[in-house]
Assembly symmetry: C4
Homo-oligomer: 209 residues x 4
Amino acid sequence: MATMVTLDQEQLKQDLIDTGRWIDGNRWCPATSGNLSAWLDAEQFLITVSGKGKGELTPDDLMTVDASGNPVNTPKRPSAETLLHSLIYRRFPQARYVFHTHSIYGTLISRVIWSGEIVFRNYELQKAFAGIDTHEVALKVPVFGNSQDMVALAQEVDTHLDSVQSCQAFILAGHGLYTWGSTVKETRRHIEALEFLLECEYKSMLLLK
Amino acid sequence: MATMVTLDQEQLKQDLIDTGRWIDGNRWCPATSGNLSAWLDAEQFLITVSGKGKGELTPDDLMTVDASGNPVNTPKRPSAETLLHSLIYRRFPQARYVFHTHSIYGTLISRVIWSGEIVFRNYELQKAFAGIDTHEVALKVPVFGNSQDMVALAQEVDTHLDSVQSCQAFILAGHGLYTWGSTVKETRRHIEALEFLLECEYKSMLLLK
Amino acid sequence: MATMVTLDQEQLKQDLIDTGRWIDGNRWCPATSGNLSAWLDAEQFLITVSGKGKGELTPDDLMTVDASGNPVNTPKRPSAETLLHSLIYRRFPQARYVFHTHSIYGTLISRVIWSGEIVFRNYELQKAFAGIDTHEVALKVPVFGNSQDMVALAQEVDTHLDSVQSCQAFILAGHGLYTWGSTVKETRRHIEALEFLLECEYKSMLLLK
Amino acid sequence: MATMVTLDQEQLKQDLIDTGRWIDGNRWCPATSGNLSAWLDAEQFLITVSGKGKGELTPDDLMTVDASGNPVNTPKRPSAETLLHSLIYRRFPQARYVFHTHSIYGTLISRVIWSGEIVFRNYELQKAFAGIDTHEVALKVPVFGNSQDMVALAQEVDTHLDSVQSCQAFILAGHGLYTWGSTVKETRRHIEALEFLLECEYKSMLLLK
């Protein structure tokens, strides 16, 4: 049994290392920004340590934290945004991976929306999200004003989630994107779809303004 | 004879796998979108199964369907758009490959044209299409409003094709591009030329608006 | 002596094959567009045959033509634009390589200038051209209206060259870029600098219009 | 002791070679532009020789210069901008690496600011700079008018540095970016963050103008 858990952790770590390389190749986590996590059980998850380039993660760059985001058996420092990962695992019990990227287009959207929501309409790629099967329903992604006070920010996100029926992702203004999924493939699909939609939306705005 | 057919199928599958990797490297099928097919004979064609990333296709991700797009000897589910591939093979008897991509610029064009046509003029690269030998003749690509009702959409495309003398490609608004060719090289050349022309056209619109 | 010539040709062919792969990686010759040549002697040069992707050239895709651009000892068909390469070798005796690319930004410039010239000012990278050692002198690149009549087009370029003191490159509207150099490194540097300057100029126009 | 110094130099050279390849892959030093240096001791530093592509540096392309930028024991010619590297090592005693890149977005910014400063506000990525821990403090990067007179330009930069409390980077208009750091990782992080911020700022300007 213990062996199985160990094997699982190794696989999860490899998933995050591979995802980091893919994200870095797409320039979605420049300059050591962003963070990636994977659920272990109801009481713990794995998360990238602070300040590492996502393109060259090693197993040592992944640490275990408890459900509240506190380090477990390690002197390593987790990413500042660990609290938001913790919140997401609590609010979305099916979530097994949470990825926070930091792209050009995720950043640009907050030049026009510092706090509010971005609404995607009529894009076939909205269907990339689990549970969405038509382009005819709007996909709404909330945007929260960036803050260095992660407790207050997590509280704001939590309150927002109380007010909506579903949520696939959210954006911190001038900062980046959070999304999650029940498998590593699904979570990567969500990231890829959101980055595509954000690029389309920015380029639409330029054309139509 | 049977052996030869088997060998052919292996080569066709490899063509689609290689094309998928090339398309993925260009970000033209993000988040498992798009689909690729290859003609087998008047009664069957190969097509990518639903929901697979185009950058990592394996032979198992390619299934056989009949001329109407129904699965042959397999419980696998074909892509939703199989009906459009079926239509193209029926309308263009010389077509041996059909590629449906889902790019940023193919999507953006429908922000200004939801239904109608995009006309390319004065681009030397219009000559990339079989049968076109000058930039002086306009290249017209019809744009159809996107729909989740593939039967209705196929009917609309079919009716349009009755009304034009030639057609090299068409676009589904907010969704993507379909093109075809008599060899895998020609079909890839068509995709590459169209993506180039769409990017030029978007960037021209920004400059000239 | 004959052996030396043979070795030279092999090296020149390898230069063009390597350059083709580099150009293709930058998407500067999409859909088999563009052509590359290398001077052999006053009476002959090597040039890419028509219709091959520049990313996967083989020695067989390079043919010998005479100074007027006619095939030498081969049934292969040279690129349509061979006449312009021929003209460049005649007008610029120091030229050893001529590259014709077909990029997004080279094409876009002709959306605002169909015939005339593009003038680059105040870019440090103007110094990438042999003989230019300050950003304070304008770099002028003539733009000629595209034509399928290569004889007439070559005549127009020739007449223009009579009227200017120096010329580092020229553009065919809606089509692409020609530049040349005395070594393969210098010619690649010219291509890279021009593509950079064209991208800057397009993006400047968007900002300043 | 002598052996240790030799080993250090080999490692520093490898750092610059690797950084050059990374920069070239990002198209931040096109057409042999830009230069990279590494501090040896208070009296000497290593710098790239003039006119080499940054993607294919060899140890021979790195030369030693004294603190004033004059070649040490070598007939090689240093880059024209060596004087600015020299100035940076003198003004910022903690600097161990100085990178000068030459990107599209670094160039574009001077289309609107030829001389003055660019101010980044509300970007989380401002925190990529050593000593900055919030997006709420503006990051100011001075822009100096480009000049071929490096002595005058260095004097202008020096005078500016007397007038400010801190400086993380500066830009030469129409030319490129200089930044520095105490490790190779930190200096690369600064380059990556600045290129990201410059791209965001250009794309914000397009949207908001």
